[in-house]
Amino acid sequence: MKYADRMGIDRLIVFLGFSRMPSPPPAQFREDNDEVLRVLEAAPDRLFGFVYLNPNYVEESVRELDRCVRDGPMVGVKLWIALECNDPRLDPIAERAGQLKAVILQHAYWRTVPNLPDESHPGHVAELAARHPDVAFISAHSGNDWERGIRGVRAVPNVYTEVSGFDPTAGVVEMAVRELGAERVIYGSDAGGRSYASQLSKVLSADLSESQRRLILGGNIERLLRPILTDKGIQL
């Protein structure tokens, strides 16, 4: 938080906990989410939480979604590398998230070396999102290979591309805005693995209008979260 302050970052969305298991059993992802819930209590005015789920355990994941989002303070879902996300096992989780107006953030890398086992790429996110057009999906990291990752979600309007978690390669935000529109591009830091600075620089250095920059740095995620925040009585 101290370093977020230094970089002018007002609010953070946090998730995952400390175990960082790729495919945690239910007891573990509940423990991970408990850690995040405790962190949220420390700064409720600045932190939002996304619930970490494992679609290999569908029923338990839906129950955890209810526990942390419907009955708790969290406002979105974080999916990592447990399962390629075009798998039909994701559907009940996406449906429940949609009912709760929760946003789904899916890790998505498109490597030119083989992807990790069960790791999703942006094309998988697009497939899942096309089956759930009323749910907002965020394709994390723009696929890292962003020249492919941005194209991979272009045709599905309820997918947003997020630009954290890869090197500050020049031109990524410009391409994302060109292909998706500024309304579908979202800033993220991937802190603490990444530097706030390097990730923020992708947006700050890009050749954009100020209104586009504001959308990417906060306006878009605020718009996506507003329905669930309103339901929870939280004002931004």
Binding site: E174, G193, A197
Partner: protein, 260 residues
């Protein structure tokens, strides 16, 4: 004022970059307070007419006010008569150093040709810049699958060349120097690829090397140059540390070589 020791001119082989034309690059550097950039050429990665690359680099730098763009030519010791390229870099183009690309030129750091080029550079008093990696190997273009430079031989090379002024570029990706400095004060790192929250602060706190051996580097225009500038803002540094990293160390390393 900032001295950026890790900048390139010309075109990346498989992507246009927002700052890959020199006027736009210079404009951006100035806006960020970067008053001097040590520049190599992307052409050096794949072109085999290295003399042509170096001549263009020198001419491009000379077109701007003295000391703004400081050229670091390329030498490919796999090419015949590479010593002449090295000589011209120093004697014709007045370059203070050269930038090596062992992985693109087909040799490793423990190859005898590497030893030869370092020996020659050391004897001539040239600075050697050594990028260990240019881009993220996980998403590297499938037709450019160049291995990263293996830094394991570095400590032995450093010890064998105590007078060599060596700048390791793109060597802090893991949050620490790619290889120990073997006690040598003539070896420097920059932080273009350093990641993690408050990365510079942590790098110094962990005591991997003294602040006197850390330089400002952006790896621009492959990376946007704002990233490196913002990293200075992110880390809590003393004024002395900041000054050392931003320009004092680079100035000391370069000495009076620019424009000589």
């Amino acid at each position: 004022m900032i001295i950026d020791v890790n900048v390139y001119l010309s075109r990346w082989p498989c992507r246009r970059l927002p700052l890959d034309e020199t006027p736009r690059l210079v404009e951006r550097l100035k806006k960020l307070g970067i008053g001097q950039a040590w520049v190599g050429s992307f052409d050096a990665l794949l072109h085999r007419d290295i003399e042509g690359v170096n001549a263009r680099l020198a001419a491009e730098c000379a077109a701007w006010p003295a000391g703004l763009l400081v050229p670091f030519g390329a030498v490919n010791p796999r090419l015949p008569d590479w010593r002449e390229d090295l000589r011209r870099c120093q004697e014709v183009y007045r370059m203070p150093g050269v930038r090596l690309h062992p992985n693109y030129h087909g040799y490793t750091l423990d190859d005898p040709v590497c030893e030869a080029v370092l020996q020659e550079a050391e004897a001539r008093g040239l600075i050697v810049q050594l990028p260990l990696v240019m881009d993220d190997d996980r998403v590297r273009h499938p037709l450019l699958r160049v291995e990263n430079v293996d830094p394991k031989p570095l400590p032995a090379l450093i010890q064998a060349h105590p007078q060599l002024r060596l700048v390791i570029l793109n060597g802090t990706r893991a949050g620490r120097p790619a290889a120990p400095l073997a006690g040598q004060k003539n070896v420097f790192y920059e932080f273009a690829m350093l990641e993690g929250v408050a990365g510079i602060e942590k790098l110094l706190l962990q005591g991997h090397f003294p602040v006197e051996q850390l330089l400002f580097g952006s790896h621009c225009p492959w990376y946007n140059p704002d990233s490196a500038v913002l990293k200075l803002q992110e880390s809590e540094l003393t004024d002395a540390q900041r000054e050392a990293i931003m320009h004092a160390n680079a100035r000391r390393l370069l000495g009076d070589q620019v424009g000589r």
